[in-house]
Structures are given as structure tokens and as C-alpha cells.
Amino acid sequence: MADRQLMTGNEAMAEGAIRAGCRAYFGYPITPQNEILEYMAVHLPKVGGAFLQAESEVAAINMCYGAAAAGVRTMTSSSSPGVSLKMEGISYLAGADLPCVILNVARGGPGLGNIAPAQGDYFQATKGGGHGDYRLIVLAPSTAQEAAELAGLAFDLSDQYRVPALILADGMLGQMMEPVALPAQRDPASLPPKPWALTGAKGREPNYIASFALDPTVLRDLNLRRQARYREIEAREVRWEETATEDAEVLLVAYGTMGRIAKTVVRRGRDEGVKVGLLRPITLWPFPYAPLRALAERVRAVLTVELSAGQMWEDVRLAVEGRCPTPFYGEMGGVVPTPSEILREVKRHA
């Protein structure tokens, strides 16, 4: 308990990244994630890392492309409109098999939207907001503690599979403070080597990094190898949390901020004798299709709750495949449903 620090979700992700060995950060101001940029400006230089406020989100993600190619653990952060600007660069990172961590502290949209919490970027994060056949590892923290831990996991997975990782948070998680027991500091020198990195062709043949192959069969084969890695990630890296699912009759599915609000719904529902449980995806890609499908065999309904018009809902329905009704409850524009509103909805399907 004594080691806990009171931190915002934004600060927790930034510190979690530094402790995981992040040594290059490039960003651009946008609310509600400015604290990440500001935290990195203060703390990254102290550990010998490179911090730069770029001239745009576009420049920032391409600086990440360069720093990641140099073999350094690299991160950028932004919020929804800024992440849209980064999409071209993210596609290039994916196409060049470069590890990189992108934080999206999402806000209301589309367009300029507002700065309130929202989950309308799920499609963009999980289905490929940029061009081409690619996937991002997508992690969705619901507490500041988890935000700090997932920042580290994002770097580890991204390095291991050479797939960019995105942490999909939202303005509420970014701005709220909670006690955080920070993960241990890791020395970048102790991390697994990256023989593919651009470090200068000394004593070896040159390394080339590109997302480019004019010959269709060559590009197809590159894609096939990448897809094989995606299958491996789907087989090994699915993460989720279940709450009160053993005897649940109505199963809530919610992630991030909605995931934690749903926990309050479960507790209150159980207090009132409603058999409600929760599956909270922690990896949005790979999505926990199998555990959700197993639960769908034995519940009356799977109720998806999101701060969107129903984006993760599509994955939920793919998982359930008609085994039970799959109602949806959501809010948009930065409006966050309260526990009693959600509980009322749960009772309609109990």
C-alpha cells in the first residue's frame, strides 16, 4: 500500500511506458491527453530518452517510424482526431513490421467532436483505420493501475510480434486519478535484441526497412507471413476479465471505462438479486471470441454496453452467433450512462 502513487490514467500510461523502457516519444497537443506529452517532456530526458513535440500528429507518427526503426522502444499519444491523422503512419509501421506503441485517449466524435469520454474509435483501432491488411494489438485499460501495466505489456507484445500496439483509453480514464502501484523499472539494455534494427551496417550486411514490394507475389508472401503472426497472436494473447459469470443470466460485455462502470452495475444488480455478470475484454484485438461464445451458451442475453453507437457490439455478435439475444445499450457524444440506467436495461433482459 505504501508504494502507491496518486496518478491520472494519462500519467500512469506515461510512467508505465518509461518503466517498460520507452526511450523515444513524439507527440502533439490535443485534449484530453496533454498530460502524457507534458509528463514525457519532464521525465523522458531524465532517463536519457528522446522527447520531441512534433509539428503535427503526422510528423509525430513518422518520427516514431524512424525511432522504432533505430531499435528503440518508441511511443506516441493522441486523442481521436489526432489518431485519425496518424493512420497513414500506423499503416506504414504495420507494413514495415515495426514495433511501436500508440495511445489513444479517445474523445467524442466524429470530426472535432468534443473532449468528453467516448468509445467511437473501436472500429478504427481494431478493424484497421489505415489502408491495407493489417492488425494492431489493441489493449483497453479500465483503471489507472491497469493503464500503467498495459503500457508495459503493449511494448512487450509489440516487440515480440513486430506489430504496432495501440492502447485505447478514453478521456475519463486519462483525466481521473487513482492509486497506482507502479511496475518495476526495466533497463532498455536488458530487453531482447533487435537484429533487424537500423544501427549502421557495421560487421554485417545492411538492414533495410520498407513496407514496399512492387512484385505482387513478394508482397503477397510478406502479407501471408504477417497474417501468420496475427493468427499466433489470436491463439496466444487474448486477455479478458470475468466478474460474477458463474451463474449469470444476463451477461454484460463492456471495456475500458464502461467496463468498470459495469462492475458497479453487477454489484448493485447482485444486491437486488439480479443474476448479472460481466465479461470485460482487455485485448480488443485479439477479441475474446471463444470465452464469450462459451458464456453465450448458458445465459439468457448478452448485453453490450458502449460509449458508441455499437462498434464492439459487432464482435460480440460474431462471437455469440445467435446463441442468445444480443441487445445493445450505448451513449454517444461524451455522455456516459450511469450504473442505474444500465441496471434498468439489464433488468429488461433478465
Binding site: 523515444a24 513518422n62 506504414y92 537500423l198 549502421g200
Partner: protein
Amino acid sequence: MPEAGTVTKVFARPRSLTDKHFTYCPGCDHGLLTRIIAGAIDKLGVQERTVIIAPVGCAVFAYEWFRCDGIQAAHGRAVAVATGLKRANPHLIVISYQGDGDLAAIGTAETVHAANRGEAVTVIFVNNQIYGMTGGQMAPTTLAGQRATSCPEGRDVRTMGYPLPVAEMIATLAAPAYVTRQSLHDPRHVAQATKAVEKALRYQVEGVGYSLVEVLATCPTGWKMPPAVAHQHVADVATGTFPLGDLVDRG
């Protein structure tokens, strides 16, 4: 005939070039400039710590010509990639090789801000006044009145703007160490351009700072001119819009 023992090697392929064949059109200056850069890398002895950044455009394969580490960047973002590489590993010698569409149209913001920060990288800017790879469309540097596939009647400056004076623009900034415009239209200018590229690279090696070497180059295919005529066009016409010489030298 001289005896075998008296033969002296006066010309060789730079060690920093690979054996790959260039994909450039006959008469194009890209190949010559590539060779000049490889020679400069050899001369400074930095082949083992150099990273070449290839743009989108005719030079998209540039990373494969050099016996150095290489990376291909998104259109216009080469110098942002250079910034990331250099900041992450300041020991690297980073060369951003970019054409006019890449550097002066879609990448203008990155170009200006990297120069303004004085990023310790070397930018080689190939100004051939046309989009070569996509088939000869108007570039930001296309001359007034010059025809291109997207301005078939010639560039009308009243509606399409003027050729962008990149070197002059960058020279207004406080941070750059070296800004110059060179040409490759005859042996004397090739020799001068070679010296300029060497100086720009040396400034990076010595930590002096950011350099931009703008090079007037030919595109015989896009211009629809034989190579010799194209070089004469650079001498007689292009240098009128884009005067040659050093604009900044803070070395």
C-alpha cells in the same frame, strides 16, 4: 601499351554502392547524384553508421542502392523519419533523399520544421520540376509556363502558383548550418555539387547541424527531351528560376 605494373586505378565504383542496377530512366540525374552521395559516404568513412531514407517517388528504391542501412518513408515524411532516427540514435549519420513533390508539396511542413529545429541530418533535395514516377504531373517546382500532364497548357502562375524557392525559404531560418543549390548539367557543376554534398555530410559528422542540398536535376522522360537537351535546359532555363550557389554556411 603500358605494362601491367604501371596501370593506376583512377576511377572505381564507390564502396558504399551496392551492385543493384538503378531503376532510373536513361539520362536521369538521380543515378549520378546517388553515386555522388555514395562517394561522400566513402570519403568521410561513415558507411558503417549511415542510414539512407528513401522517399516516395522515383527514388523509392534509394535505400537499396547503398551498402548502408536503409529505410523507406511515407510520402513527404522522410525528414520526420530522419528526425526519429537521429534523435533515437545520435550516432547514426542520417541522409534524407527527397524529390520535389515529396519535400516541397506534401512534406512542406516536415521540411520547414526539421530545418527550423536544426535537426542534425542531411537533406538531399532533388529538384527536377516534375512528378516523375507518377507520369509527369506538375510539381511545386515546375517552372512558369512549363507543360506537365496536369497542366497541359503550361503552368499558369495566376492559378497554379509560382515555382517554390525551397533553398531560399529554408535559408531564411536561423537554425540550418548549410543551405545550397547545385546543378549537375556539366562536369564543372558536377564537381561543385560533389563538394557541396561532401560538405553537408561532413557538417553532420562534425555535429555542425542541419544541411539542405538542393540539386537541379533532369527528367528527360517527363520533360520529353533527350538527355543532352535536358542538361542544356537546366543551364539555360531552370537556373534562371533557381539560381545556383550557397545561401547559408555556418560551418
